[in-house]
């Protein structure tokens, strides 16, 4: 009975959101320009929601609470990096937008292809984006699995939950394009706000009188849990927190779907105003931390990836099924809406910058078909990743960010007048990725407490700087 109530609410909310997404796209003809960048007519409010759609994902909803539960204060980095990313975007995004509008870019890799005049670099960037979106989609899929299992009160096993999640994500992606996703974000954010405030205020108030009371209890049982601690704690010390903040802030807008969101803005001013006000959205994370800290005291003992279930299990145990249903529905949308955007982005970059640019898919019908197939390929890869690697939600996001941040030097230099040759940018990206693979092979996520992605980014920049004059020289020799 409980399972039927909770799952029923989730199902109703998902269907209603798909309907809202379809309403948003009604009367809009769906050529690639419309499907991927919303016809470049997306105004301030909708753009705000679209960009914010990347903020309230399963990662914030479950992952941030899971880290507050499992690791404590290092989770604070999540509050810092988005804010830092908006500061960077204030300067970078309007320039990217201006170039994209003048040159008619559709996808993130289009920027590399055109600015560095290299089809190969465009394809390389597309493939890197594609691969790095897999763990990001895995994150959303894992979130769905957790929510469905908890809302099902044990009646659904993990594999069935993931399979349902896979099906719903693919369905949602096919019925709504970018415009549909943006409108679905409206419903998602409203519901997630309710869920987050409940988890972050009502839960701690119920058990400890207030969020401050919950933190007092945490400090009694785990002294030092609420401060980050010195650099001598390599796994999650202060060096790690600051390097991870910088890494993820640089990578924030490098995602193909984020680049497409920048292109889709109406004008440069819209982007600047968004950058000014988006940090307010981040504050909600504070309540997610409260939820994680409360769960740590109410239901201790969850370790590893299980910590991601923390406050949902508290809701399941101590609240009526309809409350659980509403919170789970919020979480489901927080997984579904971003996952659709990510699948669409991964599929469209490979379809456009590999298949179309290399003449494999020539006409628009072939491109649309390729995109659809690739959506399923990414979803299937994410499913496979879920099956072989059991990683926390934050862990999955960090894998994805390590890779995508390698595009940062190319985008920053790409908006300038004196750009390096494509070979140098490509060599830098390859060097960064090689360093990451080396770290992954040895299963260490850091060096001297510094996030491995930053080490890879340094290698990337060094190789780029060395290759710049060499590649220029080679070009001059060829010309002569």
């Amino acid at each position: 009975m409980n399972a039927a109530i909770a799952l029923g609410i989730v199902a109703v909310v998902v269907v209603a959101t798909i309907a809202l997404g379809l309403r948003g796209v009604r009367g809009v003809t769906m050529d690639p320009q419309e499907y991927i960048v919303g016809g470049r007519r997306i105004g301030a409010l909708l753009l705000w929601l679209l960009l914010a759609g990347e903020i309230y994902t399963t990662f914030t909803f479950l992952g941030a609470a899971g880290w507050a539960y499992g690791r404590g204060a290092p989770a604070y980095y999540i509050l810092c990096y988005g804010t830092l990313a908006y500061i960077i975007s204030f300067f970078l995004a309007p320039r990217v937008h201006r170039i994209a509008r003048e040159r008619g870019y559709l996808t993130g890799p289009d920027f590399f292809r055109d600015r560095y005049d290299s089809r190969l670099l465009g394809a390389l960037v597309a493939l890197l984006g594609f691969v790095m979106l897999v763990p990001y989609v895995t994150l959303q899929l894992t979130g769905l699995q957790i929510l469905l299992q908890i809302a099902g009160f044990g009646s659904i096993n993990a594999l069935a939950a993931v399979a349902i999640g896979f099906f719903v994500i693919a369905l949602f992606t096919f019925v709504a394009g970018l415009h549909g996703t943006a409108w679905a974000s409206v419903a998602k954010d409203a519901l997630v706000l309710v869920g987050v405030l409940f988890a972050g205020i009502v839960l701690p108030a119920h058990f400890f009188g207030s969020p401050a009371g919950a933190m007092d209890a945490v400090l009694r049982d785990h002294p030092g849990w609420l401060t980050i601690a010195g650099p001598d704690v390599p796994a999650s010390g202060i060096t790690w927190v600051v390097s991870t903040t910088v890494l993820t802030a640089c990578g924030f807008f490098m995602w193909p779907q984020s680049m497409a969101a920048i292109y889709s803005a109406r004008d440069e001013d819209t982007l600047r105003r968004n950058a000014v006000f988006l940090p307010f959205y981040q504050v909600m994370l504070l309540f997610v931390f409260f939820a994680g800290f409360t769960a740590l005291e109410v239901l201790p003992g969850l370790t590893g990836p299980a910590a991601d279930q923390s406050f949902m299990l508290v809701v399941q145990k101590y609240y009526p099924a309809w409350v659980l249903g509403i919170i789970a529905a919020a979480g489901t949308l927080a997984a579904l809406v971003p996952a659709a955007g990510q699948l669409l982005a991964a599929a469209s970059i490979v379809s456009k910058n590999v298949f179309a640019d290399y003449g494999i898919a020539r006409d628009q019908a072939a491109q649309t078909r390729t995109t659809r197939i690739l959506v399923l390929v990414v979803a299937a890869l994410a499913f496979g990743f879920w099956a072989v690697e059991k990683v926390t939600l934050v862990g999955l996001l960090l894998i994805a960010y390590n890779g995508v941040t390698q595009l940062f030097p190319g985008v920053v230099l790409g908006v300038t007048a004196r750009r390096p040759p494509a070979a140098a940018v490509g060599a830098g990206i390859v060097a960064g990725v090689v360093v990451l693979i080396d770290f992954a092979a040895t299963k260490t996520g850091q060096l001297w407490g510094i996030n491995s992605g930053i080490i890879a980014l340094v290698a990337n920049v060094v190789v780029l700087a060395i290759a710049w004059p060499i590649a220029n020289g080679a070009r001059r020799t060829t010309a002569a």
Partner: protein, 63 residues
């Protein structure tokens, strides 16, 4: 760099440093503010202050 541009850069650098180096300096529990450990209160305060700084940056770039 024009003086307006310089104002914008300064307005961006201050919160950026507060949210990185500032976190290293102020990673402490006491004094707790509204029950928050000091480092968390520091971060939240700067997340809320960043739009104010960036608004000044925005006005100066547009001027």
């Amino acid at each position: 760099m024009t003086s307006n541009r310089a104002v914008a850069v300064v307005c961006a650098v201050v919160p950026a440093l507060a949210l990185t180096l500032g976190v290293i300096v102020f990673d402490r529990l006491e004094p707790r503010i509204l029950g928050l450990p000091f480092v968390l209160a520091w971060i939240v305060a700067w997340v809320l202050l960043t739009p104010a700084f960036m608004w000044v940056a925005y006005r100066s770039v547009r001027a």
